[in-house]
């Protein structure tokens, strides 16, 4: 089965991103395809490389980056939602005159069209939110 995942909430505040991660991992282990994980609303905050969570708890951002690397996942952060919340890549930094970029490894910033496309091309869309 070809899955698309939508994550609507940021790290730690809600369990949504944890559930999405566990689902994604289980799907991959069962041999399914994860076409894209699209981060929207506060979900874009999963894509910042500036978090320093306590050592005795899971590192949500790194966990996504590692899973993406291991399985060649497409982690997409919505550009409009990212601009509102301060998730910035090199291109956005230049375009909007920001002092730094903070996009985490394995994530890329792109448009809402990527979510629509995921809805069209996947066989199942699973949404994790609050």
């Amino acid at each position: 089965m070809k899955f698309a995942i939508q994550v609507n909430e940021g790290p730690y505040q809600h369990q949504a991103t944890d559930s999405a991660y566990q689902f994604t991992k289980a799907a991959l282990e069962a041999g399914h395809e994860i076409m894209r994980v699209f981060f929207y609303h506060d979900g874009v905050n999963n894509g910042t490389n500036l978090t320093t969570p306590p050592q005795d708890d899971r590192n949500i951002v790194n966990r996504w980056s590692e899973l993406a690397k291991k399985h060649d996942l497409d982690l997409v952060v919505c550009v409009a939602a990212a601009q509102r919340r301060g998730i910035v890549d090199e291109g956005e930094m230049q375009r909007n005159g920001k002092s730094a970029e903070n996009i985490a490894d394995g994530f890329r910033i792109s448009g809402l069209g990527q979510l629509i496309e995921a809805g069209i091309q996947s066989e199942r869309l699973v949404v994790f939110g609050d």
Binding site: F23, A26, A27, H32, R124, F128
Partner: protein
């Protein structure tokens, strides 16, 4: 079409479970996970509404039950405990997934 409905919020915090039950058709499945697991517990104010849904199959995510210290003997009859692998399987075998957030 058979839908997998997912509910992740407590029925005592939000109306999401209630709304899900009001729209879920016979032959569909409902997975309660995260704080939604509280909707699977016996003796609550929403238990009757859940058990009245004769044509719907209910699942509760085991890891979320355990995390919250809710033992399986507290669950309503007929609610099946699922793990993440089963969650994936339910999403694949049903025709689509509808999230009641």
């Amino acid at each position: 079409m058979a839908t997998l409905h997912t509910v992740n919020k407590s029925p005592f915090e939000k109306s999401s479970l209630e709304s899900c039950l009001a729209h879920a058709k016979d032959g569909s499945a409902v997975l309660l996970y995260e704080d939604g697991i509280y909707g699977a517990v016996k003796g609550t104010s929403i238990a009757d509404k859940v058990t009245a849904m004769g044509g719907v199959k209910f699942y509760v995510l085991g890891p979320d039950l355990k995390a919250r210290g809710i033992s399986e003997d507290k669950l309503l009859d007929g609610v099946e405990v699922a793990d993440y692998a089963k969650f994936v399987d339910l999403a694949a075998t049903n025709d689509k997934v509808q999230a009641w957030v």
